[in-house]
């Protein structure tokens, strides 16, 4: 390795170029900031900035377009996958990035994400699952854990009234049009490292011409959860019991791939 002059210190980490200098509106310790930073690092590393068309959700991350220096289109709540489909079909040579929260993707936007996946749209979706509606004040999301207290489940989520957490990523992984589905976490630096690898894979699949790729991120909402940021990160271990971290489907690598047919017991 080349000799470095003592007065030119090596930089081990610096603010990514694609991440703007504005201080974010996110609450202290919010995982959205971590995910934004990882995406900015990847956009820099893969030199995607000039060819990316990103779609912003309605959720706390609606302001993503203030922080990631690429072209953005704001989608109505839950419709990012449809908006991204329109972008994809009319811009075959661009990199299409869609960013959604769990209320956005797994509640109001259920039909849109499932059909974008069914069509095998060539796009990369970042799905930030913090188990709550952060933006609107901490109401239950479809991903809220059983027993979890939210402003719309004050006594904790009771499945008999409010239903069960929805395994949306597993459902998406059932579809032939899907190339990659993984679930990562921002719980700690190690998990964040793995998460970045998943995100990178999800981007590279699109760049290689692959179909629909999605990374679910187990993230936190300290405010909505009524915890300190460190507490909320620790709590992600419990979340992972309902939403196990790992690669759910990597069709190319033969991980988790399965046809619907294999799951039926003939009558």
């Amino acid at each position: 390795m080349a000799v470095t002059a003592i007065d030119a210190p090596r930089v081990l980490y610096r603010h990514p170029v694609s991440l703007t200098d504005r201080s974010s509106h996110y609450c202290p310790g919010c995982g959205h900031g971590i995910v934004h930073r990882l995406l900015a690092e990847l956009i820099d590393e893969l030199q995607l900035a000039p060819r990316t068309i990103a779609v912003a959700p309605v959720g706390c991350a609606v302001f993503a377009y203030d922080y990631l220096a690429v072209d953005w289109i704001e989608a109505p709540h839950g419709r990012a996958p449809a908006v991204a489909t329109g972008v994809r079909r009319t811009n075959p040579d661009k990199f299409v990035l869609s960013y959604q929260g769990d209320g956005d993707l797994a509640a109001i936007g259920t039909a849109e994400i499932i059909h974008a996946a069914a069509r095998g749209e060539r796009m990369t979706t970042v799905f930030v699952n913090n188990g709550i509606y952060g933006m609107t004040g901490g109401q239950m999301a479809p991903t809220t854990l059983i027993g979890q207290k939210t402003t719309s489940t004050p006594l904790g989520r009771d499945p008999s009234l409010a239903g069960f957490p929805i395994p949306i990523s597993e459902m998406l992984a059932l579809m032939p049009g899907v190339s990659y589905v993984a679930r990562g976490s921002v719980a700690d630096p190690a998990a964040i490292g793995k998460l970045k690898a998943m995100l990178k894979r999800a981007c590279e699949i699109q760049l290689a011409g692959g179909t629909f790729a999605l990374v679910e991120v187990l993230s936190n909402c300290p405010v909505g959860w009524g915890m300190t940021a460190p507490e909320s990160m620790a709590h992600l271990a419990e979340v992972a019991e309902t939403y196990p971290v790992g690669v759910i489907l990597d069709r190319e690598k033969g991980i988790g791939s399965r046809t619907a047919a294999q799951k039926v017991v003939p009558a």
């Binding site: 109505p76 449809a82 908006v83 329109g86 039909a111």
Partner: protein, 396 residues
């Protein structure tokens, strides 16, 4: 006599890029098919839709033609999907068409409001059917208030075009794209089940509007600063400024883009205000009325917004009365009242649920209106005498 702003009319026909049937021989197309082909010839890059009667043939035509031409056709999972795909495609600068019918149109309200707010140009065709609810699949004009007034939330206006013949519909499609892109706004075309399902021989003549050099769309920040296409302005001060900008734009559209046609108005004692299919019925009724010595005339709005308020307000004092005919329980009649402001009596005749007024009914209403109103001293008229044929309604 056809009123339309010079700019559009002045523009020469661009030669269609997609191979079109030889302009010589006439073709027999359904309205739905003609509108679809007109969009293709107008340079439509992408179509997104979802099946619904009575506009299914439009989607099916696109399903066949767009892939042939290497353009984008997607049958969405729903109207919500379709209109939001359109939002995405159009936000990158593509020329986009979406079509549906009443119940499906209702599902597009939110995204239409987003597009108006984000200033995304796009053309939406509503082939109206009987409502409310699931209603019937018969022809109707009962989405007027929805499309013209209050479809989505928030302060915005939607330019709305209403053809009365298949040929006119084809011309209007090109104009709709042009308006949408010139003013960066979604534009609606209001047709009805008959317009969509009927066949008329048409001369396949088309127009592809020039593409304005647009500097707003999010198509990848190559060699430029990133762009954001959005409608959110969390600071009310910012959102109000944006609304002021939108309102100023709407005022300009209201001034420049009013379109309408009049017939037999010069010497008319009573006039009918009607658009689309209702105007065709009115036309036959007027012919029968004149054959019987009753001098009736027609004012036919072609743009429902901006509404031809001036021509109606100007004509009102010279008329015994105005008869509004709609395939509805009475929707456009509100705008006629706003234009007339009491300057002459306004009567209404409408049929609903898929029923269509007959020339006989309209003639009867004309006679009643005439009989129940008093004569007006004829003022010297600035209207040309000559009758107008429907072909003349075409804007090229």
């Amino acid at each position: 006599m056809i009123a339309h702003p010079a700019p559009l009319a002045a523009e020469p026909l661009a030669t269609a890029t997609a191979p079109a049937p030889a302009a010589a021989e006439r073709v027999l197309w359904k309205g739905n098919e003609a509108i679809a082909e007109a969009a293709i010839q107008a340079g439509c890059d992408a179509y997104f839709g979802y099946p619904i009667t009575p506009q299914a043939e439009l989607l099916e035509w696109m399903a066949r033609r767009m892939p042939e031409l290497g353009r984008v056709f997607v049958q969405a999972e729903s109207e919500l999907g379709a209109i939001n795909m359109a939002l995405g495609a159009a936000a990158t600068g593509a020329r986009v068409l979406v079509s549906s019918s009443s119940p499906g149109i209702s599902l597009m309200a939110e995204a239409m409001s987003y597009m108006a707010g984000s200033e995304i140009p796009m053309v939406l065709v509503d082939v109206m059917r009987g409502g409310p609810g699931l209603g019937s699949i018969g022809p109707s004009q009962s989405d007027y208030l929805q499309i013209v007034k209050g479809h989505g939330h928030g302060d915005y206006r939607l330019p709305v075009l209403a053809p009365a013949s298949i040929s006119e519909a084809m011309a209007i499609v090109a104009d709709a794209f042009e308006l949408a892109e010139r003013y960066r706004t979604p534009v609606a075309i209001l047709a009805d089940g008959i317009m969509g399902q009927a066949m008329e021989p048409i001369v396949p003549a088309f127009r592809e509007p020039a593409r304005p050099a647009s500097t707003w769309q999010a198509d990848g920040a190559t060699g430029r600063a990133p762009r954001v296409v959005k409608s959110l302005n969390l600071r009310p001060e910012d959102l109000e400024a944006h609304n002021d900008h939108l309102q100023a734009k709407f005022r300009i559209i209201a001034q420049r883009e009013v379109r309408y046609a009049t017939e037999d108005l010069a010497d008319a004692e009573v006039a009918i205000v009607a658009y689309g299919t209702a105007a065709r019925v009115a036309r036959t009724a007027i012919a029968r009325a004149r054959a019987g010595g009753l001098r009736a005339g027609l004012i036919r709005p072609i743009t429902l917004w901006p509404f031809p308020t001036a021509v109606i307000r100007e004509a009102a004092p010279r008329l015994r009365g105005i008869l509004v005919v709609e395939l509805s329980a009475g929707q456009m009649v509100e705008d006629v009242h706003l234009a007339v402001e009491g300057r002459c009596p306004v009567a209404f005749h409408g049929r609903t649920g898929g029923m269509v007024p007959t020339p006989r009914d309209v003639l009867r209403e004309l006679r009643v209106l005439w009989a129940t109103t008093t004569p007006v001293p004829m003022a010297p008229s600035d209207e040309p005498r000559a009758d107008v044929t429907w072909e003349a309604d075409l804007w090229q």
